[in-house]
Symmetry: C2
């Protein structure tokens, strides 16, 4: 028989549907002997619950969603999301909860997706990335009463659950490392200005500058694209008092920056040190290989999944979990200034 139902099992076992349901879900109401018998029959018939049927009765669908609002063009290159996804899945697979992934163009579309998911009961909760300042998604999700966890940014005033790493400390460790090498003119090619993590990193650079005796430490924002990363690098390196070190907020921009430096005849690390705030295979493929800040992105995803499941189970408590600190991996692109 294809796709048996609990009614089939009940018939075969000579009991009622209810008894079968109790047995399969390990809840009281049947004797151990009967439970044993029912389980064996279910196993034999290779029964599996019909997800829709279960979702209709109990009101959970055993599925969570994740929407990424970035143009697909800038998305693919970064291993970040692939690692994050794998991590999220490993965190979900234990409970055999499935993941719905959606890539959309902008935040408006993303919010639209949340509304649809909520009204169609398609997901039990969602995972948020790229939190911005005064992010409209936070209020929206609260209004929809959709459990959520924010990746990489504290939920802020107890709003949403979150999983985060200390961006500030990480950025400080980079700047301090460069300062210790002797650099005094450090530039920071930052990401999208309204992302919270961008702001935190910019603030970290600004705060550290006087303490470390930096002559100049401008943070220049971009849209995270290789094109803008390259353009800003060109501008920086054309200045009369050009920086001796540049910190990039993503590995892709760092690679683009390296290309510009080579093109302009600026030797790396001789004339310019380069650090990427995010590690991946990309940075290792380059010549010279790039010094980069490594985060355990997989673990990040895994923990986000865990926190989300806890939040779904108990929407009352808001979890803010801090993950392992990122580590600076020194490679060939950094050296003392000439």
């Amino acid at each position: 028989m294809a796709r048996p139902t609990i009614a089939d099992i009940a018939t075969r076992a000579g009991v009622s549907k209810g008894a079968v349901s109790f047995a399969l879900n390990g809840r009281p109401g049947v004797s151990d002997a009967t439970r044993e018998r029912i389980l064996k029959i279910a196993e034999q018939m290779s029964w599996r619950p019909h997800s829709a049927a279960r979702a209709l009765g109990a009101s959970r669908v055993d599925s969570v969603g994740m929407v990424i609002a970035r143009p697909a063009r800038t998305l693919g290159v970064e291993p970040f999301f692939a690692h994050l996804l794998s991590g999220v899945q490993s965190g979900l697979s234990a409970e055999s909860i499935s993941l719905q992934l959606l890539i959309v163009e902008d935040t408006a579309a993303e919010i639209e997706v949340y509304r649809r998911w909520a009204s169609e009961h398609r997901v039990d909760g969602v995972i948020l990335v790229d939190l911005t300042v005064k992010d409209p998604r936070v209020d929206e999700l609260r209004a929809l009463e959709l459990p959520a966890v924010v990746i990489g940014g504290r939920g802020g005033k107890g709003a949403l659950a979150s999983v985060w790493a200390d961006d500030r400390d990480a950025m400080l460790s980079i700047v301090e490392y460069l300062a210790a090498l002797g650099h005094r003119r450090i530039a920071h090619v930052a990401g999208t200005p309204n992302f919270q993590h961008t702001q935190r990193r910019i603030r970290a650079v600004r705060d550290a500058a006087p303490r470390l005796g930096l002559l100049d430490a401008p943070s220049l924002t971009t849209d995270f694209s290789d094109a803008e990363g390259a353009a800003i690098t060109r501008k920086l390196l054309s200045q009369s008092d050009r920086p001796t070190a540049i910190v990039y907020d993503s590995d892709v921009m760092a690679v683009a920056g390296l290309g510009v430096a080579m093109e302009m005849g600026v030797s790396v690390p001789g004339d310019l040190s380069i650090v990427a705030f995010d590690d991946s295979i990309l940075t290792q493929l380059m010549h010279p290989a790039l010094t980069a800040l490594s985060r355990d992105t997989f673990d990040f995803g895994r923990q986000a999944a865990e926190v989300l499941l806890e939040t779904i189970a108990d929407p009352g408590t808001v979890i803010n979990r801090r993950t392992a600190d990122p580590v600076l991996t020194v490679r060939e692109s950094t050296a003392p200034p000439a």
Copy 2:
């Protein structure tokens, strides 16, 4: 009222549940006036169908699945999947069908996922990538009676629906281009040997060699990783009669190969021409920028989604749709041999 049901609408409109269902689904059974009235009320109450309820009655869940069986480590770098995903989604969004994405370690795990999805009725169909020779997934899916479409490889003897591009012609165009430049010693760093597209590309190179008067045209297989791409390049460039041109089956391997060449003091394109069989931002970030074969991956995904939906609607007919031919984008990494 939160989350209204059709019963709520029925009450408000003073009609029965059935009438509401007819009206909302645009089927006969209600007058135009009544339909109008019901639609307006549904709109006012911002009603949306409960996906589980709908899935239970009609037996479709309006959701399709895609499993990628590659270690996450090698996955992220390639923009290929991100573009493919976006394309798939754009093809699905028209019918507001959702996508379940899963990244697993190997084919065994992938098949396990299909079994689960089938028995739990979680998806209406699946999209297959990376078809291998004698792929076990084909028989499995047939046994599960799960509609499927294969991306980038003809389904083979009418088995599964497919969306494919002509790998053979594409590879021929690359080799012919290099031969026209004057290259006679061309190497091919191929991908995983048991992938069907790998075999097709290898065969194309082998068949073209004598016709174009190539002295040597070895195809060397890899696991698609940057590490193996680099290792094989090192070996090739160490030979006494080293190739004057290398074709790589992926952009990541081409980038790794370029790195090795630079490291060994082999100038590109002076001493060595490099072509990547797959384009992305990566190839453009390099110096020199890599000549690469561009495929419209987004469109590929979109068409796969369309074909899958047609297959789900009518499982009888097997569609084999050929997509636009790939185009060779010539950049700085190719030139006549020294």
